[in-house]
Symmetry: C2
Subunit: 300 residues, 2 copies
């Protein structure tokens, strides 16, 4: 499957990116810039948005027809995760044997389940999740360097040689766009992203909502917001549809992370109520060490 164009090895002949928004568009740009593929087609529902993606150089061609999947040796699901099932159902009859399908969705267990239920056995599905993004959405914000330095989770399930070969190509693709591949089970992935991404999102939304309510009641309150608050709530401006879909796709893991968080927050609340300075300081000291061990706050 690997070809060469100039000195660059191409990994795939024809990639279909289903959903050309921030992630899909950035991937198209990165694949083309790295000459990792010969041709990128964007599949979408809006001809206007696809035209924009084409004009921005994210895709070579555009289609509204899921049957175009028949020409691809790699299909990347990059639409909101809630649209995956319909996309897979629309494409299933058109995928040739040996076609690789992956995705960039933020939750993996449900996607893997859908893929194994919907796709024919001769199609290889390997779940993926690039840990990169912005609080903006849409192909107009796409960036060929979005994935540089980011971790890109791949979740093979151990289905045998065809999956091994697909995984190896995807690993090279991930490295080719500047990211670091991380092979992980879908359950651990889902619990991890719930704790480090999905829960913080809900928390940022609730913080912003509570502060906005105080501002309504007592104008001027939000005027004091310094860098810290803006930083903490920056992600609350992220795409509502994408986050709705993530919450629906990763519900159980999010609820588990939320319960763990509320337990800790409850302990802090009780310490404040009892004016228990010792417990507060002990917790702050312990958590400071954990946060320092995690390292810098530079954006990826």
């Amino acid at each position: 499957m690997a070809r060469t164009a100039g000195n660059q090895p191409t990994l795939f002949d024809h990639v279909l990116i289903a959903g050309v928004g921030l992630l899909g568009g950035s991937l198209g740009m990165a694949l083309k810039r790295g000459r990792l593929v010969r041709r990128v087609t964007g599949l979408g529902r809006s001809a206007d948005r696809l035209r924009l993606a084409q004009r921005l150089g994210a895709i070579d061609a555009a289609t509204l027809d899921p049957a175009s999947a028949r020409e691809a040796d790699l299909v990347v699901l990059a639409a909101p995760i809630g649209a995956f099932t319909a996309l897979l159902q629309g494409m299933r009859r058109h995928l040739g044997p040996g076609t690789i399908v992956t995705d960039v969705g933020s939750a993996k267990a449900g996607v893997l389940r859908s893929a194994s239920e919907i796709l024919p056995p001769e199609v290889v599905f390997v779940g993926g999740h690039p840990m990169a993004g912005k609080e903006t959405s849409g192909v107009q914000h796409a960036d060929p360097y979005l994935f540089r330095g980011a971790r890109w989770v791949l979740t093979p399930v151990g289905r045998g040689p065809a999956e091994d070969e697909a995984l190896s190509l995807l690993v090279r693709m991930v490295e080719g766009v500047g990211a670091t591949p991380v092979i992980l089970g879908s359950e651990l992935h889902d619990r991890s992203v719930a704790a480090i991404s999905h829960l913080p999102q809900l928390v940022a939304v609730a913080l912003m909502e509570a502060a906005a309510a105080l501002e309504q009641e007592a104008p001027g309150a939000l005027g004091l917001a310094a860098g810290g608050f803006r930083e903490t709530t920056r992600i609350a401006a992220s795409d509502p549809t994408m986050w709705r879909d993530i919450c629906l796709a990763n519900g159980p893991a999010i609820l588990e992370a939320l319960a763990a968080f509320e337990k800790r927050l409850g302990a802090l609340r009780r310490a404040v109520q009892k004016a228990d300075g010792g417990a507060l300081e002990e917790t702050f000291e312990r958590v400071r060490r954990a946060r320092q061990a995690l390292g810098g706050s530079e954006r990826l």
Copy 2:
């Protein structure tokens, strides 16, 4: 009280900064750099730390004796807020009539109460709170430009001409170090900072604690943490003693903000539990608009 040194109007003759850490040290540097005062003395409990502050140019002289307050026309309480009462009690007999006392503490109602109980009536206390800081602490991180662009709350209580005059000098001092004075009642101040600073701190601590617990149980989870998580939890590395003191000093307002936050988070949890995509999207959309209205996430 205003003098001139060269072309610069000095606002105070002799400033005593009680507690020369990040804020106190930065204020000393900024006052000296702006030639807003003739002389800055640092009052502390550690001769070593005071020597370091002096070497860094944060103070002109150092003392371990609260009686040094007698030489000052401005006293700034910049120790952890939990030490204020003892500081005021130690200095009260030494403060001359007309001496102005202010502070840089993160909660105001309790400090105002202590000051009015402890200080003699001929001493003017005006509460203050510069909305600036870092997750680091100590004079070694002091920075004369720390206050530039920051809001600096002042909380006069309407005690008459002496307070008016003190307030006017403090407003000029705040402007002189590059900050914007904000005159605010202590109650609204305390509720605001609870919502935009103290609650986010507790939330960041609980997020970091929950993620660290998952990492213990399932190593690798934290390895996926991208820029967003680091950003959200950056403040969890802040000074434990300072935050213990803030939680003790602003307990009621923090508990009120926490209750408002938990109410919103509870609504989000129920929406996730019920897989109520409509409610999630509606909330995310509404909060996105509120966050966008707040503006950029640049640090101050």
